[in-house]
Every structure is written in structure tokens, then in C-alpha cells.
């Protein structure tokens, strides 16, 4: 029993380390991609000593700058909730990574270690539950800042999140009908046939519609453009994180990028086969490599959309979510059920 606990603890710590580093470098990736699309070069000066290193130490410099900033708490703000809100945003974002499978199995020190922390039999519902809890960080941040821009931004942002959660959940149901289980590890294992290329998108091509709905809903869930009206720079000052500075602001930004990585990981797991790929059976270490490549591709897609598409107005956004995406995902459930009826 203590062996199991030790294994869990070590895996969790390793994943946390990798995640925090990944978030830092995703911010650098964002700036470089933004620069590439806007025909300029991103940050390329921060290096080590004399070597420019293409700006790879930029996240370190940004982190240090943020730590040294003054930590302000507004005078009339609700102190308890003001300090609690960033934590409520960050903790659920970190918790989702224990159910995602990163690889099949590797053999280290004489033991076979499966490359996922746990294998819940309601894994997908757990992820949905954590996105539901993540709404509270934003609502409480908006309320406790005692600032009308923050309050409006917080309420709009959380209303947008709970509206698109429905389309997200229903599009997941379409995939569930094909896979038959909520356990993410089983879903990925079932996509392993045909030299590791039997991904759900190839086996059931009609899932491409579901993937589009899922991706758009997850962009709205994570408050990314084109759905980022509540926190964009030129609207509502800065929305729910107007009054936050230093480490609390860093926690909000980390939570936002972690949510983006989570959404990309879930999309990879459900639609693109997770860690499956050619010859994973012979070299198990290729599993995490394929997984990272696919997740990075999804993140690049999100950034590409961000710097290409203009922003939605808030009422257009709500109308799109309720009147178009929700009926579309229900129609997709009916289509998936019909396909399964004919296949079995």
C-alpha cells in the first residue's frame, strides 16, 4: 500500500514540475506565434550570459519581474475572497492532469510503471466537474475587487463559461457513445489498433463535427479569443483581474494557460488517440513524445485562431452558444447513436 502511495506521490510531483515549466514556455510560444503571424520577431534577447539563446529565458525573466512587483490589495476589497479567488482558479486547473494518460507503460528500476497517475472509471466526469468548479475563481475575483469593471467582467465571464459547459459536455457524450466508457485510459487504449493509427477521428469520421464543436466550446471555456470579451485589453479595462498584481495575477494567468493545455489534452485523448502513434508498442518512450506533439499542435491551433479572428460581442457570443452550438451538439448525439445502431 505504501508502495502505491509513493508511486502516486512521485508521479504527481513529476507532472507538477513538467506542467509549471510547460505553462511558462507556452507563454513564450504564444508571443513567438503572435509575432510570426504579425510578421515580426518575438522576444529574442533574453539569454544566458553572452548567448542570446533565441529568447528562451524570457519566461524566467517575466517570472522574476512578477515576483518583485508590489502586491496590492485594494482598500475596500473583501480580503478573504480576494486572496482565495486566484487559488480557486488555479487548483482545479492543476487537478485535471492526474487522469490523463501520457503513455502506455515503461519499465524503470525493475517495475512496470503505467504512465498515468490514476485511472478513474468516471475520469471524464471528473474533468467536467473541475471545469465547473473553476468558474468560482472568476466570479469571486470579480466580486471581491470592489470595482464595477471587475464585477461586470467577472459576471460576464462566468456566464459565458457556464453557457459553453453545456455544449462541451454534450459533445463529449457523442464520443462516449462510441467508446463506451468514461475512463480516459480505456478510451486511449481502444485507439491503438492498426499500427497505432486507429484514432477516433479516423475510425468514425463523423466525429470531425463533434471535434469542431468541442474545440470551439473549449476556447469559450478558457476565455480565449474570439471569446475573450470579458478580459480583453481594450474592453472593460481588464475584466475580473483588473485589481490583481504580482503573484495573484500570475496565478490567474497560469490558470488560464493550464486550462488551455487541459482542453488540448482532452481533445487529443478523445479524438486523436492520446499517446498512440506508429511503433509505440516497441518503444514505449515514444508515447509521451507523440502526446506532446499532438497537444502542441492543438495549442498552436488555438493561438492561430486567436491572432486571426476578430472578437465576438457578448450578446453574439451568448446567442452562438445557446442557439447554435447546443442544438448542434444534440444533433450530433443523435447522429452518433444512429451510426452505432447501424454498426452493431
Amino acid at each position: 500500500m505504501t508502495n502505491l502511495l509513493l508511486e502516486w506521490a512521485i508521479k504527481t510531483i513529476v507532472i507538477l514540475f513538467i506542467l509549471v515549466t510547460a505553462v511558462a514556455y507556452v507563454t513564450l510560444m504564444e508571443r513567438k506565434v503572435m509575432a510570426f503571424i504579425q510578421l515580426r520577431v518575438g522576444p529574442n534577447r533574453v539569454g544566458v550570459g553572452k548567448f542570446r539563446l533565441w529568447g528562451l529565458m524570457q519566461p524566467l525573466a517575466d517570472g522574476l519581474k512578477m515576483i518583485f512587483k508590489e502586491d496590492i490589495i485594494p482598500l475596500q476589497a473583501n480580503r478573504w475572497l480576494y486572496v482565495l479567488a486566484p487559488a480557486l482558479s488555479l487548483i482545479p486547473a492543476l487537478m485535471t492532469f492526474i487522469v490523463i494518460p501520457y503513455g502506455s507503460e515503461i519499465t524503470l528500476f525493475g517495475r512496470t510503471i503505467a504512465l498515468h497517475v490514476t485511472s478513474f472509471n468516471v475520469g471524464l466526469l471528473y474533468v467536467l466537474a473541475l471545469t465547473s468548479v473553476g468558474v468560482y475563481g472568476i466570479v469571486l475575483a470579480g466580486w471581491s475587487s470592489n470595482n464595477k469593471y471587475s464585477l461586470l467582467g467577472g459576471l460576464r465571464s462566468s456566464a459565458q463559461m457556464i453557457s459553453y459547459e453545456l455544449a462541451l459536455g454534450l459533445s463529449i457524450v457523442s464520443v462516449l457513445l462510441y467508446s463506451g466508457t468514461l475512463d480516459l485510459v480505456s478510451i486511449v487504449n481502444a485507439q491503438g489498433g492498426f499500427h497505432g493509427l486507429a484514432w477516433n477521428i479516423f475510425r468514425y469520421p463523423l466525429l470531425i463535427l463533434v471535434f469542431v464543436i468541442f474545440y470551439i466550446s473549449s476556447l469559450a471555456e478558457t476565455n480565449r479569443t474570439p471569446f475573450d470579451l470579458p478580459e480583453a485589453d481594450s474592453e472593460l479595462v481588464a475584466g475580473y483581474h483588473t485589481e490583481y498584481s504580482s503573484m495573484k495575477f500570475v496565478m490567474f494567468q497560469m490558470a488560464e494557460y493550464l486550462n488551455l493545455i487541459t482542453a488540448s489534452s482532452i481533445a487529443t485523448t478523445l479524438f486523436f488517440g492520446g499517446w498512440n502513434g506508429p511503433s509505440v508498442g516497441r518503444f514505449p518512450v515514444l508515447g509521451p513524445i507523440y502526446f506532446s506533439i499532438k497537444v502542441l499542435a492543438m495549442i498552436f491551433l488555438a493561438m492561430w485562431i486567436r491572432y486571426t479572428v476578430p472578437r465576438f460581442r457578448y450578446d453574439q457570443l451568448m446567442r452562438f452558444g445557446w442557439k447554435f452550438l447546443l442544438p448542434a451538439s444534440i444533433v450530433n448525439i443523435i447522429i452518433s447513436a444512429t451510426v452505432i445502431l447501424f454498426l452493431r
Binding site: 500500500m1 472509471n121 466526469l125 465547473s132 468548479v133 457556464i162
Partner: protein, 176 residues
């Protein structure tokens, strides 16, 4: 490692009771709502110890993630003021509540901890057969919901429709 079960139960039970008491002790309704969320999360953990995985996840998604968000939105939009206990009209009810609570707790002790009653069950059935179809998993609840309990399911859907229409009509401003 069996003591871990007892320790987990005690931790989550104390969190649930402390959050529930906090609902009564706070004057601001926003803090009461947040305490209720704490209770809901503790109860969800307790459902997991009772092999009810689907209900535990659905409790967080539906109850703590949707219903309580609705409560918090209403509290924030209406800017509900804090309670002021010193200017209440019917203070007498407070003196009625404490004996009432005492009676209920005494009754609970009598029913549950009386040695002659067979309610002190301490053996749970193990999941037999296919573990993925045991009681409490999604498969089991789904099949039961659509075979044996189909009528309550359909009636509930009509109930939700009524609630949606009713809420829209009641919360509408004049002239909308």
C-alpha cells in the same frame, strides 16, 4: 490501512458539519453560500467512500457547479445586504429552535446507537462479477435509469421544462 477509511470519514464528516454550521453563523449570505459549497464538496467525497462514483461526480457538476453558481449570481446581482440580528421582529423563534434541535439529536441517538436495533450494519457488499458494471458505476445507473426507472426519468424531464418556463416568466421585467 483499514484505519484510513475511518480517518477519511471523520475528516470529511467534520468538514461537512463545520461548513453547515458556518451557514448559520455567517451574517452575509455570500459567505453562507460559499459554506454550502464546502458542505457539498465534503458530501461528494463521502459518496466516493460509499462506492457511488457517478453520483459523486454528478453532485459536483450539477449541485456545486451549476445550482450554487445560480445562487451566487442572484446574491451578487441583487446585492443582498448582511443580516442584522438586533432589529429582527420575531426573536422568539430563536428560543424555539434550540430545544427543537435538542429533541432531534436526542431522537437520533436513541435510534442509531441503541444496542437492540439492527441498524449498526458494518459490512458492505463487494462488487461481484464485472467491476465495470458494479453498483454505482455509470453503466449500472444508466441501464437502471432507462429500464426500471424510465417513468421517473421522463416525468423529471417534463418537470425541468416547467421549471425553465416558470423561471423565465417570473423573472421577467414588465414590458419585456
Amino acid at each position: 490501512m483499514e484505519r484510513a477509511e475511518r480517518v477519511l470519514f471523520i475528516i470529511f464528516a467534520i468538514t461537512a458539519i463545520a461548513s453547515a454550521l458556518n451557514i448559520l453563523l455567517q451574517r452575509s449570505p455570500l459567505y453562507s453560500a460559499l459554506s454550502l459549497i464546502g458542505t457539498l464538496l465534503s458530501l461528494s467525497a463521502l459518496y466516493l467512500t460509499l462506492h457511488a462514483q457517478f453520483i459523486a461526480a454528478v453532485q459536483i457538476v450539477v449541485y456545486a457547479g451549476a445550482i450554487m453558481v445560480l445562487f451566487i449570481f442572484v446574491i451578487m446581482l441583487l446585492n443582498v445586504p448582511k443580516d442584522q440580528p438586533q432589529i429582527e421582529k420575531q426573536k422568539g423563534l430563536r428560543y424555539l429552535a434550540v430545544p427543537f434541535a435538542g429533541v432531534m439529536i436526542a431522537e437520533m441517538f436513541y435510534v442509531f446507537f441503541d444496542n437492540k436495533r439492527p441498524i449498526r450494519l458494518s459490512s458492505m457488499p463487494m462488487p461481484s462479477g464485472n467491476v465495470d458494471q458494479a453498483v454505482g458505476t455509470t453503466w449500472n445507473i444508466g441501464t437502471a435509469l432507462f429500464t426500471d426507472y424510465l417513468l421517473p426519468f421522463e416525468v423529471t424531464s417534463v418537470l425541468i421544462l416547467m421549471a425553465v418556463v416558470g423561471a423565465m416568466v417570473l423573472a421577467r421585467r414588465e414590458g419585456d
